[in-house]
C-alpha cells in the first residue's frame, strides 16, 4: 500500500524538552489511524511535523512523497483549526470560500456544509454559532480542498452525543470513499468508534501500534498495589514495579490475582486496586519489554 505520510527516526526538541524521541511511523493510503495519548505525550508535535508547522530536530518527515514544508505538497492534506480561533466576524459561507481559495480542487460549498449538517448556517456569522456548530465547521474546513489525507485533532471534544454521531458519520463517509485519516484524541471511545489502527504515544515515543481491539485489551489493565516483603509467582501479571516497599502489579484480571495471592499464604497489607491510566499501562509494559530485551 502507498505510504502517504511517514516519519523516520524523527526527533523534536524544544530547548531542553524532548517532545518526540526517534519516532518512526507510516500512514498508508486508505487507513483510518487513531493517535492516542495523554496531553503532553507528543501527539501535537507529531501532527505539527506532518502538516509543516514544525521541522524535526533530527530524522525525516515525508508527506505525500514530498516535504511538509512545501506548500504544493500540502494541497493534498486537510487540517482542522481549533474552533476557538475561528474568525468571529466572518460568515460561514465566507470562511469556506476563503479556505477553498487555497486549493486547486475543492468541494462545492453547499455539499461540504450539507455533509456536516451546516447547510442552514451558511449566512450566519461565526461569532453567533454554538460551540458544537463551530466544532463541526472547523472539521468541515479540513475537507474543503478534497484532501487525500486529513488530520483531525480532538474532533469531537465537548460535543453532545448527537453532534458527535453526525461528525463521525461525515468522517466515515470520507474514509469509505478512500480517504485517509489521522485522528488524535485522548479518549479511547472516540478512536474505537472510528479507527482501525491505533498508535499510542507517551513521553515522545510510540508505545504501541496495533489494532483497536489489541489496544483496548491493554487499556483494560488494572493496577493492584500492596505492601509485601516477598511475593510468589502470580498468574496474569503483565507488569510489576516496586517503590518504597510497595509492589504495583498490572493485570487484566485483578479478581483472580487477589484470589491466588490469598491462597499462596504470603503475608501482605494495604491492598489497593484501581484502574491504570493509559500512560501507566503503556509505560509499564514498555519498560518491562525493554528490561527483558
Amino acid at each position: 500500500m502507498t505510504v502517504l505520510a511517514r516519519t523516520i527516526e524523527a526527533t523534536r526538541r524544544y530547548g531542553d524538552v524532548l517532545a518526540l524521541d526517534r519516532v518512526s511511523l507510516d500512514i498508508r493510503a486508505g487507513e483510518l489511524v487513531g493517535l492516542l495519548g495523554p496531553n503532553g505525550a507528543g501527539k501535537s508535535t507529531l501532527i505539527n511535523l506532518f502538516v509543516g508547522l514544525r521541522r524535526p530536530t533530527s530524522g525525516t518527515v515525508e508527506l505525500l512523497g514530498g516535504s511538509p514544508g512545501d506548500p504544493v505538497t500540502r494541497r493534498g492534506i486537510g487540517v482542522t483549526p481549533q474552533e476557538t480561533g475561528l474568525p468571529e466576524s466572518l460568515r460561514v459561507g465566507e470562511i469556506v470560500d476563503f479556505i477553498s481559495a487555497h486549493f486547486p480542487k475543492k468541494v462545492e460549498k453547499g455539499e461540504l456544509l450539507a455533509r456536516f449538517g451546516l447547510s442552514d448556517l451558511i449566512k450566519r456569522q461565526i461569532g453567533g454559532l454554538s460551540g458544537g456548530q463551530k466544532r463541526r465547521l472547523a472539521v468541515a474546513l479540513a475537507f474543503a480542498g478534497e484532501p487525500k489525507l486529513v488530520f483531525l485533532d480532538e474532533p469531537t471534544t465537548g460535543l453532545d452525543v448527537e453532534a458527535r454521531r453526525a461528525l463521525w458519520d461525515g468522517v466515515r463517509a470520507f474514509h469509505e470513499d478512500g480517504g485517509t485519516v489521522l485522528l488524535t484524541s485522548h479518549y479511547l471511545e472516540e478512536i474505537e468508534a472510528l479507527a482501525e489502527r491505533v498508535v499510542v504515544v507517551g513521553r515522545g515515543r510510540v508505545l504501541a501500534d496495533d489494532t483497536v481491539r489489541a489496544v483496548r485489551d491493554i487499556v483494560g489493565v488494572r493496577r493492584v498495589s500492596l505492601s509485601a516483603a516477598d511475593l510468589p509467582d502470580l498468574p496474569g501479571v503483565i507488569g510489576s514495579e516496586r517503590e518504597d516497599g510497595r509492589v504495583h502489579l498490572l493485570t487484566t484480571d485483578p479478581d483472580r490475582l487477589v484470589v491466588e495471592l490469598v491462597r499462596s499464604g504470603a503475608p501482605f497489607s494495604g491492598l489497593e486496586i484501581r484502574p491504570s491510566t493509559l500512560e501507566e499501562a503503556f509505560l509499564t509494559i514498555t519498560s518491562k519489554e525493554s528490561a527483558h530485551a
Binding site: 480561533g85 466576524s89 487555497h102
Partner: protein
C-alpha cells in the same frame, strides 16, 4: 498567487469593516481635533487650513498604520487560527500582503471624516491632482509607521503592543507637528522635531497638498528612519518565524 492575495485582503477588509474599532479609533480623534482646533482657529485661512487638514489626515493614517498593525499582528500571533492558516497550501506571503493592503485601506478610510470636514467647514482648497498626490504621499509616508507597527507586533504580546504603540504614537504625532504646526511648538520641541519620523512625513504632505518647501533634514531623517525600521521589522519577523514555525 494574486487570487490568494485577493482572498486574504478581502478577509481582512471584511473583518475591519464588520468590527470597525480600528477604523473608528483612527478616524475619531483627528475628526474631533479638526472640529475643536482647526475649524475655529485656521479654518478661514486657505493655506493654513489646507496644511492643518493634511496634518490631521496623517494623524489618522499614522494611527491606522502604527497602532493598527502593532495590535493586529500581536493578536494574530496569539490566535490558534494563525498556525492553522500556515497548514494551508500557501506560504506566509499572501496573508502578509493582504494584511498590508487592508491596513492601507483602513488608513484611507479613516481620513474621510477629516476630508469631509475640511470641504464643508473650512476654506481649505486643493486641486484634484494635488489631492491624489497627497493621498499617495500619505500612504508612502505611512510606510515607516507600518514598519514600526510590524516591529512592535512581532516582538510583543497584544497587551503590551496596545500600550507601547499608543505610548509611541501620541508623542511622535505631537513632536512631528501634526497637532500643532511647528511654528507654535516650544523651542526645544521644534529643535528635535525634524529628527523624528512624523515631521518628515508631514513636510512631504504639506509640500504635496499646499506647495510648501519641505525641510531637508526632516526628509533625510524620514529616509533614515524607514531604513532602520525596515531592518528592525525584518529581524523581528524572522525571530518570530523561528520561534513559532521551525
Amino acid at each position: 498567487m494574486p487570487s490568494l492575495v485577493l482572498a486574504h485582503t478581502r478577509y481582512f477588509v471584511i473583518e475591519s469593516i464588520r468590527v470597525p474599532i480600528g477604523i473608528l479609533a483612527s478616524a475619531l480623534f483627528p475628526a474631533i481635533a479638526m472640529l475643536a482646533f482647526v475649524v475655529p482657529f485656521a479654518g478661514g485661512d486657505p493655506q493654513a487650513a489646507t496644511m492643518a487638514t493634511a496634518s490631521m489626515m496623517f494623524f489618522g493614517a499614522m494611527s491606522g498604520a502604527l497602532t493598527g498593525l502593532a495590535i493586529n499582528v500581536a493578536q494574530d500571533r496569539e490566535q490558534p487560527w494563525n498556525p492553522y492558516l500556515r497548514t494551508l497550501p500557501a506560504g506566509p506571503f499572501p496573508r502578509f500582503v493582504g494584511r498590508i493592503l487592508s491596513t492601507v485601506a483602513v488608513m484611507l478610510l479613516s481620513v474621510i471624516p477629516v476630508l469631509l470636514e475640511a470641504v464643508l467647514l473650512t476654506e481649505a482648497t486643493i486641486t484634484p491632482v494635488r489631492l491624489l498626490l497627497g493621498l499617495a504621499v500619505l500612504v508612502a509616508s505611512g510606510i515607516p509607521f507600518m514598519l514600526m507597527g510590524l516591529l512592535i507586533g512581532f516582538l510583543l504580546s497584544s497587551k503590551a503592543a496596545i500600550a507601547v504603540s499608543q505610548l509611541l504614537f501620541f508623542p511622535l504625532a505631537i513632536v512631528g507637528g501634526l497637532l500643532l504646526p511647528p511654528a507654535v511648538l516650544p523651542g526645544f520641541v521644534d529643535t528635535i522635531s525634524p529628527f523624528t519620523p512624523a515631521r518628515g512625513a508631514a513636510e512631504l504632505l504639506w509640500a504635496a497638498t499646499a506647495g510648501s518647501t519641505p525641510d531637508a533634514v526632516a526628509l533625510v531623517m524620514l529616509a533614515v528612519w524607514t531604513v532602520v525600521l525596515a531592518v528592525a521589522a525584518g529581524w523581528a519577523y524572522r525571530r518570530d518565524e523561528g520561534r513559532r514555525f521551525s
